[in-house]
């Protein structure tokens, strides 16, 4: 049973790996779960990075910008806000927090059109910012940060910092933030995958190919392979998928302990 399930999860990935090593003829001509007649991986990679004047590399860099930098800032803002909700006293706290929960409840995809309409009004459609800025907001991260702050930062430690004359802001930066580091990584991972996964928003916002994230670029290659009968784009989409998935899988393998703790923290929400 476990073996069967593992087969089910791993076979499509095996197919992706094998297909990336094939020439175009072999991709269409040989069995998907066997090797092609010749190993063609190096040529395929070369073609991938050369296609359309190297646009693939641009897409990768864009994605690192949207997902990497975006999630980094989003987690920073989220941890700061979550800490404030947990440890500081200020008026209107719970009312503000219910606004955050409202944000958790509204799904990202349903926000794409409202965002587009506003961005169109503001004249920022088809810019880097139209996809980057929405990624900076992660209400669920604020929620998680509040939970993590309550779990990781003992009140006594903050008291001690105050006794020593550290200001509130300094206590957060020097004392609390380092204690929340595992929570920070978890929140970062969540938001990173979310932005990396997002497809509807860039599809709606962007028309300039140079601004695409990898997902959207692969989709365009793939649909042009279908609609305009460019079989070479099939292969580009396959190899491009492999190249963008491998680093993600490595990151997940390295950061296992964080996503596991984050998932269980999220599940008892």
């Amino acid at each position: 049973m476990l073996g069967l399930a593992t087969l089910y999860t791993l076979l499509p990935l095996t197919w992706l790996m094998l297909s990336s090593t094939k020439s175009r003829e072999d991709l269409f001509g040989t069995n998907g779960f066997s090797l092609g007649n010749e190993i063609h991986l190096a040529e395929n990679l070369e073609q991938l990075f050369a296609a359309d004047d190297g646009v693939y590399l641009r897409w990768v860099l864009n994605t690192v910008g949207y997902a990497g930098v975006g999630a980094l800032l989003a987690s920073l803002f989220g941890v700061a806000a979550g800490y404030a909700f947990d440890k500081l006293v200020f008026p209107g706290k719970e009312r503000l927090f219910s606004l955050v929960l409202l944000g958790v409840m509204v799904p990202g995809t349903a926000m794409a059109i409202p965002l587009y309409l506003l961005a169109a009004e503001a004249g920022v459609v088809n810019t880097f910012w139209s996809v980057f800025v929405p990624g900076l907001v992660f209400p669920f991260g604020v929620y998680l940060a509040r939970v993590f702050s309550a779990a990781y930062v003992p009140d006594e430690v903050l008291e001690a910092a105050r006794m020593d004359g550290a200001g509130e802001f300094r206590s957060f930066c020097r004392v609390a933030f380092p204690m929340m580091a595992p929570g920070f990584v978890t929140i970062f991972l969540f938001q990173f995958t979310q932005i990396w996964n997002s497809f509807f928003l860039p599809l709606v916002m962007l028309s300039d190919q140079d601004l695409y994230p990898v997902n959207l670029g692969l989709y365009v290659w793939y649909s042009s392979a279908l609609s305009q009968g460019h079989p070479e784009d099939y292969l580009l989409a396959v190899v491009g998928s492999l190249v963008s998935v491998v680093p993600l899988i490595i990151v997940f393998l390295m950061l296992q302990r964080f996503w596991k703790s984050g998932m269980t923290a999220g599940a008892v929400k």
């Binding site: 089910y8 309409l117 907001v137 279908l226 993600l248």
Partner: protein, 298 residues
């Protein structure tokens, strides 16, 4: 009255909360408000098409149009059919796998956990691309294999499309939920399990009578989160859509919104439909939080 320390706390709170709330306003609250406003207007071409278009206040007409449009409502039916197929298989599969891992039958637990979780590290779009290749006649080894066994199936036909989309989602989410269930199972007190063993309960009986009921809150949550995710169904059908003529451009609610906005340029209707989806999801989320609160109180 405010002591220096509470004043300091307020000032720091403002400082720490501002970046999030400023962006939250720009990215969530303002677009929602703007979409709500726009949803009250309809664009009409005036006269015989001379003089361009004008925005006419139409009250709740767009909402009425969406809610009576069979294409929009059919989208929800598709999602319902998809859920009916997807949720039992995915949650059931995740549960059985978690129980197997927990029962001690399985060696190499972390290997299985990782192997099963791996698809979740693959972005939804790429998962859909991979599977659609595996669904495409002439390319797919799966179809060839089934054909050699005498089964002729067209994964991209209208009848099977719901199944095909659900399969991609099962692939992506089964391992994810298994990890959650497995973690919940680890928290089941060992004394309870030992007591059951002393009473002569077998592995299967223990699983059904003790373990599953004890992690019921986790299961309920996973189901509801899955439903909320399903309402947003877009990426996988979009990819299947470009490969198959069998499913339409308004197959799911989000596809309906996209078509209304960018093929028919009816932004009022698109805004109204988006807000309806958001409200529907928010209501479901509210139920989720209710249930989870009940679950956390013993």
């Amino acid at each position: 009255m405010a002591s220096p320390s509470t004043r300091g706390q307020r000032r720091t709170a403002t400082l720490l909360l501002s970046p999030f709330f400023v962006l939250f306003t720009v990215v969530t609250l303002a677009p929602l408000a703007y979409a709500a406003w726009l949803s009250l207007f309809t664009t009409r071409t005036s006269g015989l098409g001379f003089g361009g278009t004008e925005n006419v206040f139409s009250g709740l007409d767009n909402y009425a149009e969406a809610l009576t449009d069979p294409q929009f409502l059919d989208g929800f039916l598709v999602v319902a059919a998809y859920c009916a197929l997807y949720i039992p298989v995915m949650i059931g599969g995740a549960l059985v796998l978690a129980l197997l891992l927990d029962s001690g039958l399985a060696k190499a637990r972390s290997f299985f956990q990782l192997a099963l979780f791996l698809p979740h590290a693959v972005p939804g779009l790429i998962a859909a691309l991979i599977w659609v290749y595996l669904y495409t006649p002439g390319l797919s080894p799966v179809i060839d294999f089934l054909k050699s066994g005498g089964i002729d199936i067209s994964f991209l036909s209208a009848d099977v499309a719901v199944f095909s989309a659900a399969n991609i989602a099962v692939w992506e989410w089964m391992g994810y939920n298994m990890v959650i269930f497995y973690a919940a199972l680890q928290a089941v007190p060992r004394e309870t399990l030992d007591a059951a063993k002393v009473d002569g309960a077998g592995a299967i009986r223990t699983a059904l009578a003790i373990k599953v009921p004890m992690i019921r809150p986790s299961i309920a949550l996973a189901v509801l989160f899955t439903v909320i995710g399903s309402i947003q169904l877009f990426t996988e059908p979009k990819v299947i859509y470009s490969a198959s003529s069998a499913i339409g451009s308004t197959w799911t609610p989000n596809m309906y919104v996209q078509t209304a906005a960018f093929q028919n340029n009816d932004f009022g209707l698109a805004a109204a439909a988006s807000l309806l989806i958001a409200v529907f999801a928010a209501v479901l989320s509210f139920i989720v939080t209710r249930i989870s609160r009940r679950g956390s109180k013993p």
